[in-house]
Symmetry: C2
Subunit: 105 residues, 2 copies
């Protein structure tokens, strides 16, 4: 194998983030704008709240999602994509285009 | 939640294919052209042969990879992307662009 043909480790890492179950869908729900926990959960009915909570923490840790607490009464917590997260939009768009063309319902 | 905001099930299915460990990397190794089992394995050193064999069978079942047996002596078996598989190139490209910009080595 030639060195130039070796796979970039960054590519593998990016896939390891995006490959976790629900992560792609969670990011997609946040692309139009910040959302509260319940709004995200309602858009992905098959995912448990516990799983959503876990995934949001991971995405926060990776700098893809940002959690903001607003001091309203009752307190309001919103999840939003960071710049790193927003720049996943073109990845999402290409996955969606591919799915539309090739995946039968 | 408004109906129009619901997530397309095709999108979820596409992610369920692409989210399996190694699948993205295997597809990437096949983008430049058909390869033999050993060539793919050598390009992804951390993946076991058993895993590669399993993933290739799955990808064949999904119509993403095509297996061709050439009646040479000894027999030659090549794996290639189908049209459906090749059209994943733009997805791969966007993932790679994102990783280059945002993932530290």
């Amino acid at each position: 194998m030639q060195q130039s043909e070796a796979l970039c480790p960054k590519f593998e890492f990016a896939f390891s983030i995006l490959s976790r179950k629900w992560t792609g869908l969670i990011i997609q729900t946040l692309l139009p704008g910040p959302k509260r926990f319940r709004e995200i959960a309602d858009m992905i009915p098959n995912m448990s709240d516990r799983m959503l909570s876990e995934r949001l923490k991971e995405l926060e840790g990776e700098g893809i999602v940002m959690r903001t607490v607003y001091p309203d009464i009752p307190v309001r917590i919103e999840y939003a994509l960071t710049e790193k997260g927003k720049s996943l939009e073109s990845v999402m768009r290409e996955v969606q285009k591919w799915a539309q063309q090739w995946v039968d319902c």
